[in-house]
Symmetry: D2
Subunit: 348 residues, 4 copies
C-alpha cells in the first residue's frame, strides 16, 4: 500500500546518507561546534543573503517552536496564531508548558492578516489579560496555503508598528517557496520576519530544522535555551552534515519542487474531475473533498488521512507529496481515482 499520509514517511535523500557515511570517522567537537555545522550555517547565510542572522540547527519542529517562542517572550506575553496553527492543536500544549498562552484566531485560509492581529490586540487592553506579543504564522500553512510577498509585507509592517515579534514556522517552507504561486524568496525573509525556520525533516533530511533569527535582540544567548529545552544534540554534526548537503547546492529547492510537481499532477486531475477542495493549496498538501465511497475504494490501495467530514456523503482527505514521492505511484493513484470517480459520478 502506497502512502500519501505525510512527507516524513521515508528516510533521507541518498546524498545525505552518503555524506553521513563519508564523514563518519572524522572527529569533531560536539554540540554544534563541528565544522559541518559551521559550513552549513555559512551556506545557509549565503542563500539567505544576510551575514547578520543567527542560524541554529535543531532536531524537530515542535522543539524549535517551543525553544524559540519561550526564549522570545517574557512570562506575561502571549502568542497569536491562526486556529489551524500547529502550535495550537498539534504540539500537546508545548508552548503553554513553557508558560505562555496562545490566542487562537479563526481564519478562512490558515493565514493571519493585520486585521486579525489588531482584533487580538484590541481585545487585550490591560494587565488582567495576557499581552499579545508574538505573531506565529506558518508558510506553507497547515492547510497548504502560502503567504504572498505582499501579504507578508503588510503583516510585517503591522507587527513593527505595534512592537510585535513576527515568527514563521517553516516546517514546509521549501514547498511554499517552490510553489508556482509563490513570489517570495528565502532572501526576502530576514526583512519581513523576526525569526523563521527552514524545515529539513519534511524536505529530505532525517531530522533537522534550521532556525534563523533575524532580529538582534532575539539572538542573545540563544544556545542556552536550546540546551535547556533538550535540543542541543551532542552529535550536532548529524544536523550540520544534512543541512550542508541540502544547501551546498540547490538540493533543498529541487526536492521541494519535486514534491510540488507531484501535488500539481494530483490537483490537476482532480480539477479536471471538478472535485472541490477544502482549501486552495498550491503546495504539497491537498485537501480534496471526495465521496465517501470513493475514499473507501482508494483506501484499499493507498494510505492517507481523512481530514474532516464535510457532509453525510463526502469527506475531505489529505494527500501529501514529498521529495520521495514516486511519479509512477502518483500516476497509478490518478488511474485509480479516475476509475473510482467515474463509477461514483453520482456522488460528485
Amino acid at each position: 500500500m502506497y502512502s500519501f499520509k505525510d512527507d516524513y514517511s521515508e528516510g533521507a535523500h541518498p546524498r545525505i546518507l552518503q555524506a553521513l557515511v563519508e564523514s563518519n570517522f572524522e572527529q569533531e567537537d560536539g554540540y554544534g561546534r563541528d565544522q559541518f555545522t559551521q559550513k552549513a550555517i555559512n551556506f545557509l547565510k549565503e542563500r539567505i543573503g544576510r551575514a547578520n542572522v543567527d542560524v541554529h540547527l535543531l532536531a524537530g519542529g515542535t522543539q524549535t517552536n517551543l525553544t524559540a517562542i519561550s526564549a522570545f517572550l517574557r512570562p506575561h506575553e502571549a502568542a497569536i496564531a491562526a486556529s489551524t496553527g500547529h502550535i495550537l492543536g498539534h504540539e500537546t500544549g508545548a508552548i503553554e508548558a513553557t508558560g505562555h498562552k496562545i490566542l487562537s484566531i479563526e481564519t478562512e485560509d490558515g493565514k493571519l492578516t493585520p486585521s486579525h492581529v489588531k482584533a487580538a490586540l484590541d481585545g487585550h487592553p490591560d494587565e488582567h489579560m495576557v499581552k499579545p506579543k508574538l505573531v506565529y504564522i506558518s508558510n506553507s500553512t497547515e492547510i497548504g496555503t502560502i503567504y504572498s510577498k505582499s501579504e507578508l509585507q503588510q503583516l510585517h509592517q503591522f507587527c513593527r508598528e505595534n512592537n510585535l515579534i513576527l515568527y514563521m514556522d517553516g516546517a514546509r517552507l521549501g514547498s511554499a517557496l517552490c510553489s508556482e504561486e509563490n513570489d517570495l524568496t528565502l532572501s526576502d525573509l530576514p526583512a519581513l520576519v523576526d525569526a523563521f525556520y527552514i524545515g529539513g525533516t519534511k524536505n529530505g533530511a532525517l531530522i533537522g530544522e534550521a532556525l534563523v533569527i533575524c532580529c538582534d535582540s532575539l539572538k542573545v544567548e540563544f544556545r542556552y535555551h536550546i540546551k535547556q529545552k533538550g535540543g542541543l544534540l551532542a552529535k550536532g554534526r548529524l544536523l550540520g552534515i544534512q543541512f550542508l548537503e541540502l544547501f551546498r547546492d540547490n538540493l533543498f529547492f529541487d526536492l521541494a519542487t519535486h514534491a510540488n510537481k507531484m501535488a500539481e499532477m494530483l490537483r490537476e486531475e482532480m480539477n479536471n474531475a471538478n472535485i472541490s477542495f477544502l482549501t486552495q493549496s498550491p503546495s504539497n498538501q491537498l485537501f480534496p473533498i471526495l465521496p465517501n465511497a470513493l475514499i473507501t475504494k482508494l483506501q484499499s490501495k493507498y494510505s492517507f488521512h481523512i481530514w474532516e467530514k464535510v457532509d453525510a456523503d463526502h469527506s475531505a482527505i489529505r494527500l501529501v507529496t514529498s521529495w520521495a514521492t514516486k511519479e509512477d505511484e502518483v500516476l497509478a493513484f490518478i488511474e485509480e481515482f479516475k476509475k473510482g470517480s467515474k463509477n461514483d459520478q453520482a456522488y460528485l
Copy 2:
C-alpha cells in the same frame, strides 16, 4: 590531533549507517509508530528480560531526563542528585525549567547511598520546603564510577521504603555494564530502578536514548510528555533503526567493551607510572592527575578536557574512550605519555 575529549566525536557504527541506507525508501508511519521502532523495542525488552516495561526512544540525554522527571513528579516534588549529577550542572537548568528543584548532595565518588538520601528527607520535613520524591543516579557516573549490584539494591530498598522514585541516567550505561568491575546486568535493572535509560549517543548511535519505564504508575500517557517537550521525532524510524541494529545482536555491548578496553590500556599504563586519579573509574572515562608541564606537552598532539586544578603544579584531565577509539591512537598516546612522564619525573 587525536581527540580523547568525549565519546561523541565520531558518527555512528557503520552497521547503523548501513541499516539507514538499506531501509531508506521503505514507507513507515511517523512518530515512533514505525516497524523498526517496534522491533527495536521488542529486542530491548528481550535483552532486559521483561515484557511489562514501556520503552520509548528519545533523541538525547537532557531531553530524556527532563521529559521523564517532569512527567514523574508533581509540582511540589523535587529530585535528589549527587552534586556531580549531569542534571545539576550540565543541563542549563532543564529540570528547574519544568518547575522542579534538584537537591544537591555532596558525595565522595558521584554515587548516592541511602544515608545521603535519608539526610535529604530529614532536611525537608514539611510544606515550607519541596518534597524530595525522585532519586537521580547516573551509571556510570559523571566521574566514571559505577554502582555495584549491592549498592543499587540498598538504594532501591531505601527508595521503596520511603516511597521514592529511583531513576537511573544511563547515558554511559553500556560502559558501566561492560566494566570489569561490574556485577549488574541489564536484566537486573527493572527490579532495581523505577525507570532508566540506555544511552545510544555515547555508544555507537548518531543520536538516541532508550528510556525504560518499569514502574506501572509512571507509564501512564507518557507519549504525551515526549510530544509536549519536543522529543517525538516525526521520523522516529531514525531512532528505531539504530536501536534495532544495536540490540539485534550483541553490538551495543561489544562497542562498550571496546571503549572500556581502550580505557583500561590507558589506566594500566598510568598505574604503572604511579599516576594518581581524581576518581577510581573502571569505565570509559579516566581522570588522571598529571603535572601541568606534561599536560601541555600532551595537548600538542591530543585534545582532552582539563577537568580541574589539583594544586599549583598538577591538574586532573579527563580522557574519554569510545566505541570508535582506535587502538593505535591509544598506543601512540601511551608512548607520548611515557616520554613526557619520564622527562617530567620530578613532577610526578
Copy 3:
C-alpha cells in the same frame, strides 16, 4: 458618585472588622495553623455537611484557581472552560503560566453542558494534543447565570464517566446559592463537584476564598502547592477570623441575599421598562442593554462598566450589587433610570 462597578468596592462587613479588633493581640501560630482558621474550617464543614472534605483558606480567586488547577493536573493535561470563564480571559494567563492549556468553549449563557465537554474530548483524541482533564465552571458565571441542580448533576455524571475533574469557581457562589432561581445548597456540592471554592472577597470579607476539596486523590499534600504558589499567608489568622465570622451563623448567606435583593429591585424596574438584558441573570450582576444616551446620563451620577456595544445606539452595561449596596442608592438609581428612560423612550 455611587458605584455599581463591582462587588469589591467597600471594605468588609463590620462584624469582620470587629472580630479582627477583638482577636488582635491573641498570639497564634502562623500559616493557617491558628485556632481561628481551625474553627472556621470546622464551621465550614458543618455548613457543607461533610467532615471528609479538606478546606484551605486562600487570599484571592486567581490565586485559588491557579493553585488548585496546577496541583490537580499532570503536565500534559488541560482545563476546559466556557469562553467567558474567568481563567480564560481575566487572569493574565495564570493557568498557562503553570504550564497548562485551557480549551475554550463557546456557550450561550456561560455554562458548560455535557455536550460541550464531549466535543472537547472528541477533538483531542491522541498524544499530539493536550488531554482534557479538568472542567472549570463558575457559579454564578461571569455573566450572572447560575447552574441548576439538574444541570450540575448531568455535568458531574458526564465527568465521572469520563474520568474528568469537575472544579467550580465560586467567587460569587454566595449570590448563586441565594438566588431565587437556585435549587442547589452548599451541602449538595461535595457530591457534585471534585473541588470548589466559596468566595469571601466578593461577599463581605476583606480578602479570602475557602477552597473545598472533596475528591480524596486531589487532597494529597495540597498545602505544599499553596506555599509554592505564594498563597500561604504568614498571618493565616486574617483569613480564619473572617471565615469564622461569615460562617459562625448565617452571615455569609444574609449578605448574599442582600446583594441579590438589591439586584432584584434593579431588574424588576428594568423589566417593567421592557429593557432587554444581554444575559438572564438571577444573581447580583445585571447586564441591561440601554440606549447610549441614557448610559451617558446615568454615568454622570453612577459608575459602572460598559460591557459591550450591542448596536450603533445601544450598549450592555454591567451593574453589580453587593452585601454593601445601599437600598437608598438603588432607589435613587431607579429614579434616575426612570427619568432617563422616559425621556429616551424613543431609543428603547
Copy 4:
C-alpha cells in the same frame, strides 16, 4: 504560654485596624487603583527619597519574591543566594516552579560578598549551565545579620560591573534599618539595589509587602506579573490602607525599633551570662546556644523554635521579638532564663 516563635503571631498595630474601620464604607476602585494605595505609594516614595521608583503592594513575601524574580529573569537565567536564603529552603521551590534555578552559596553569616558571587560566575561559564543573573540577598538575613552600607556598596558595584541584578528581600527590613549597628537608610537603597521590598507582615501589618523597583528596565509591565501570579488583590485597599498608616508618619520605624529593643534586652542578658550565639545578630532574631536542660525548662513557659542541635548537650534556639512583643514578657523570660541558667551552670 508566651511566644517568641516569630514576628507574625499577633494581628496588626491598632492604628491599622482603626484605619480599616474608618475607611470601610468608602467606595474605591479595585486592584490597587484605590486612593489609599496611591497615597501610600506617594508616602513611600517620599521616605525612599526618590520619585522615579515603582512601588507595588503585594500580600506576602514568597509571593513578592516569586513574582519579582520570575519577572526579572529570562528562562535560562538563575538567581544566586546564600544557602540560608529564604527562597532556597523555605518557599517550597517557588522560584524553581517559575522555571529558574537558584545557585546556593555557603556563607559564614548569611550575607553574600562579591567574592561569593564571583565564584558562582566563574563556575558557570557557558551555555551548558544556567547563567547567573540575579543576586538575592536578605536584610536582615534569615539568621539575623545585617548588611553595612559599605558591604552593600561593594556588592552593588560588583553586580553593576557584571551586569547582575541585585535584589533585596526586606521581609525584616524594618528591623535591619533600625538596628543599632545599621548605617543604611531607606533612601540609600535605590542607589544600591535594583529592587527591594519593605516587609509589612513582620512589622505591624496584617499582610503586605511593598516592592520597590528602582531599575527602569525591570519596571516594564510589572502589574501583569502580579496579576498572573495571583498577587493582585481585588480589594487592594487592604494593602494601601495599611502602608498608608505605617508610612504616613514614623510608625513603621517605631515598631521596628521596639522589636529591636526587646531583642536587645534579651541579648544583653545572655551576653552577661556568657551565652554563645550561633550568629551575631543585631536585629530582632536571636540564636542563643543553650543547654538542652535549660531549653526544656524554658519551653514549659515559652514557645520558640529549636533551630539546630549544636552538640550532644546544647542546641541553638531562635527567639524572635516584634512590634507586639511586651516588655513585661521579656522581663519575665529573663527571670526564667536567669533562674534556669543558674541551676544549669554546669552546662554552660
